[in-house]
């Protein structure tokens, strides 16, 4: 600690309310970035408190601090190498045993720890009693009770952090591993202390323990050290696997001694959460209830949002017309009206359904239901060669595929993960929704909801078939075993859900102001020039480009306008709508009040090919951001290209079949 500035790291298991505590501690002063070299999110924030400037870093949520996952390596390297003044360990009061396991590891790192005993209200409500004084005594660590969701205990936590930070240098705690292992640890420590730079950098007991456990990252840390050979000598005399297991057991033994003395647990046969799960994870009712909830979400997203969209639609149409008619010179009025309001405005019209969808997804996630979906779908997923766990990123894909693909990181097995990544783009994201709303609304009237729901289901089916195909050809193998925590149900709060909705929704708005704005201007330029041609006509550059592309999509029943829209839709799928808004020249034609009317009035678009267009938009190549994340997460150009090519082929085939079979049967 220097000059009243304190550096604090937050550590803890997943699902213990770490983010809530982080938010309560830092308020709005946050910065989100990435840990160096990896795409794991790094959140930092600061707080001025009692004359101290406290810097917080939110470490990834982990159960342990081994070298097996990137999250754990990041967390422990930060503590060992950056040496924060205090590590706040957030412990779930309802679940001491498992949480204290991480505590034992933090202790070994020599960190100065403060325990935030979170969700203590929940523990007390169910009748648990935790004696924090005793806990402090046994662990030699200060313990502060918190209820982060209500802001309880936060100030006390800050006071304790400051007090601990003043104590200065790091603090060694001990777990005894039994005579045999302790002897080896001693030998190892003596050897390591022979290397001054090494023992200055890392706590030698911790490093010894890790080396004896056969920790690869620890071995890397001593590469090039003069004591390397001696270390290897010792390691060759032991069975590292056995050591690792015995040491883990010893840590739990220590916990098993402490917990009964500090906590009296009221044993409930059935928790409220278990009662709810009796129904939601029931063998017959689980799947139907899942689909009923999904249907409720879609019903709300699409039907409830219609009037609000109509209001925005009329407002933007009026604005586009007013700008195009009244702003001089004409070309500038057209740029503003047709290009910018026509393109960006009509993407913004879809704010209501997208925000409602994001809100509902946030409620499903906050309540803990999403994790149940993994269980409910496990059997089905096993049939296609994946596990239930892969289903969670798939559902997240309904929001946006980019974070959904990043969420596949929790899947350890390479082939499982690759399959989950490659099928994700078929989960219809929020950006594709405007296309469905526009066309289903224009051509399917009150059946629009059902049509849109079917499109989403088609996306799931495409994902399932693709997974099955990949698992039986390119990515053969059985799914790797999995274990996943099922957090208890929580009551979603309006505040939390709104914030989560806003976090996702604001990305949509940001996109509208940047990528889509540029796309709209570009399409307007193509539609206007060469100067003098009729706006958006076949003689414009857009028309010429469209005419080149038209033969490719003619068998699908698409005209050149759609071809251009789909081409630019690669950048971001909302542009499909934005581009049509621009190409239909909404500012120009006062007759057509809004985009759905222009689309309906165009004889080249009718129910059958609009259905084909929706399906094509669903399946064809993922947007540029998704392609980027596929490249990054798979680390392979080959799989990225595969995702693009496979999507286009599938989309083309599906739209072709819809149009040709449908026409053959006499639909239009």
């Amino acid at each position: 600690m220097t000059n009243n500035s304190i550096r604090v790291a937050l550590a803890g298991n997943p699902n213990v309310g770490k983010t809530t505590i982080f938010n309560a501690l830092t308020g709005a002063k946050q910065h989100v970035g990435n840990w160096p070299g990896v795409t794991v999110e790094k959140k930092t924030g600061s707080k001025k408190y009692n004359g101290y400037e406290i810097q917080f870093v939110d470490l990834p949520g982990t159960y342990s601090l081994t070298a097996y996952s990137i999250d754990e390596v990041i967390a422990r390297d930060y503590i060992v190498e950056e040496k924060p003044d205090v590590v706040v360990h957030i412990v779930d009061a309802t679940n001491l045993e498992r949480n204290l396991y991480l505590t034992t590891q933090l202790m070994e790192l020599g960190a100065r720890i403060v325990i935030a005993l979170n969700m203590s209200d929940l523990a007390e409500n169910r009748g648990d009693k935790i004696d924090t004084k005793k806990m402090e005594k046994f662990l030699e660590i200060p313990v502060v009770k918190t209820v982060a969701t209500k802001g309880i205990g936060i100030d006390q936590l800050l006071d304790t952090v400051i007090k601990e930070a003043k104590k200065g240098p790091h603090h060694e705690h001990m777990i005894g591993y039994g005579d045999d292992i302790e002897e080896k640890i001693n030998q190892m420590e003596n050897i390591l202390e022979g290397d001054i730079t090494l023992s200055k950098k890392y706590p030698s007991r911790w490093l010894s323990v890790k080396l004896l456990e056969g920790d690869d990252e620890a071995l890397k840390k001593i590469e090039g050290s003069p004591v390397l050979d001696q270390v290897k000598n010792i390691l060759s005399t032991i069975n590292k696997e056995e050591y690792e297991a015995v040491m883990a057991d010893k840590r739990y033994e220590a916990i098993d001694v402490i917990v009964p003395q500090v906590a009296s647990r009221h044993d409930e046969k059935m928790t409220a959460s278990d009662m709810i799960d009796r129904v939601f994870t029931h063998k017959y009712f689980g799947i139907p209830i899942f689909f009923a909830l999904m249907w409720a979400a879609f019903e709300l997203t699409f039907t409830f949002s219609v009037p609000f969209m109509d209001i925005l639609d009329s407002a933007f149409a009026w604005l586009a017309g007013a700008l195009a008619d009244n702003v001089k010179p004409d070309w500038f009025g057209s740029l503003l009206g047709d290009g910018i309001v026509g393109g960006v405005g009509f993407v913004l019209v879809f704010i209501p359904p997208i925000f409602i969808l994001f809100l509902l997804l946030a409620i499903l996630e906050d309540s803990g239901y999403l994790a149940r979906a993994a269980f409910i779908m496990d059997r089905l997923m096993t049939k296609i060669g994946l596990h239930g766990r892969s289903f969670v990123p798939m559902l997240m894909g309904f929001g946006c595929n980019v974070p959904a693909i990043m969420a596949t990181r929790t899947i350890e097995d390479k082939n499982d993960r690759l399959t989950t990544i490659l099928v994700n783009p078929f989960m219809s994201c929020g950006a594709r929704l405007p296309v469905y709303v526009l066309f289903a609304g224009a051509f399917f009237g009150r059946q629009a909801g059902t049509v849109i729901f079917s499109i989403y289901v088609l996306g799931i089916v495409a994902a399932i078939l693709t997974a099955k195909l990949l698992r039986s050809t390119l990515l053969k193998g059985d799914p790797a075993p999995f274990i996943m925590e099922l957090p208890p149900y929580r009551v979603p709060t309006a505040k939390a859900a709104t914030i989560h909705m806003w976090q996702r929704g604001s990305m949509y708005l940001k996109k509208a102001g940047t990528v889509i704005l540029l796309g709209a201007i570009m399409i307007w330029t193509l539609a206007t020039f060469p100067w003098g041609v009729e706006y958006g006509s076949e003689d414009s550059y857009a028309g010429k480009l469209g005419k080149v592309l038209e033969p490719l999509v003619a068998p699908l029943g698409f005209d050149w306008r759609i071809a251009v829209a789909l081409l630019f839709g690669f950048v971001a799928k909302e542009i499909v709508i934005g581009a049509l808004g621009v190409l239909y020249g909404l500012g120009e034609d006062a007759e057509e009040a809004n985009i759905s009317d222009s689309v309906e009035a165009d004889p080249k678009i009718f129910a059958l090919n609009s259905l084909g267009l929706m399906v094509f938009t669903l399946l064809y190549m993922p947007c540029i951001a998704t392609v980027g994340i596929i490249k990054k997460e798979t680390g392979s150009w080959k799989w990225m290209l595969f995702a693009i090519a496979y999507g286009i082929i599938l989309a083309w085939t599906a739209a072709f079949l819809i149009f040709q079979v449908g026409s053959g049967l006499g639909y239009d």
Binding site: T19, A272, M275, P307, R490
Partner: protein, 153 residues
């Protein structure tokens, strides 16, 4: 047949609500598949197949709860409570849809809704909701979620 003493009211509730939801579900399914007649109109049965399946599902959840309760499995009461929760969730969804239509018809005066009256969006999923509403009020304390924590930000 109510054999569970501890939860006899919940069992009775399931015995009434279960069959009612299932019967209305099947009537709505028939209408969805094309059957139509004066009495179905009088009952405000819409052409909505997915909605009919949801009614059947809700009825089945109530009846399954009755089955477990009568077998002496007290945890079966979860089916009654969760069923009530889901049925009310659907009432809320339908009412929001109705309010959206009302907005279209009365505020925006949109063409598609010129002849809309609230009865157009009336359906069994809404009026049957009176039963779960009574259940909800009767067993309010069970829905307080006191033992669930709140989701954090």
């Amino acid at each position: 047949m109510i054999t569970n003493k501890e939860y006899k009211y919940e069992t009775a509730f399931g015995l009434i609500a279960g069959p009612l939801y299932i019967i209305f579900g099947f009537i709505q399914l028939a209408v969805g598949l094309g059957y139509s007649s004066g009495w179905t109109d009088a009952l405000y049965i819409p052409k909505d197949i997915i909605g009919s399946l949801i009614l059947v599902l809700l009825g089945a959840i109530f009846l399954y709860g009755v089955k477990e309760l009568n077998e002496g499995t007290n945890e079966g009461v979860s089916f009654v409570y969760v069923g009530i929760f889901l049925a009310l969730l659907w009432v809320v969804v339908y009412l929001l849809v109705m309010s959206a239509s009302a907005l279209e018809a009365y505020m925006l005066k949109s063409e598609d809704f010129e002849e809309w009256v609230p009865a157009d969006d009336m359906k069994p999923g809404i009026y049957l909701g009176i039963l779960p509403l009574i259940g909800f009020l009767a067993w309010r304390s069970k829905f307080s979620f006191r033992r669930l924590s709140k989701a954090g930000v």
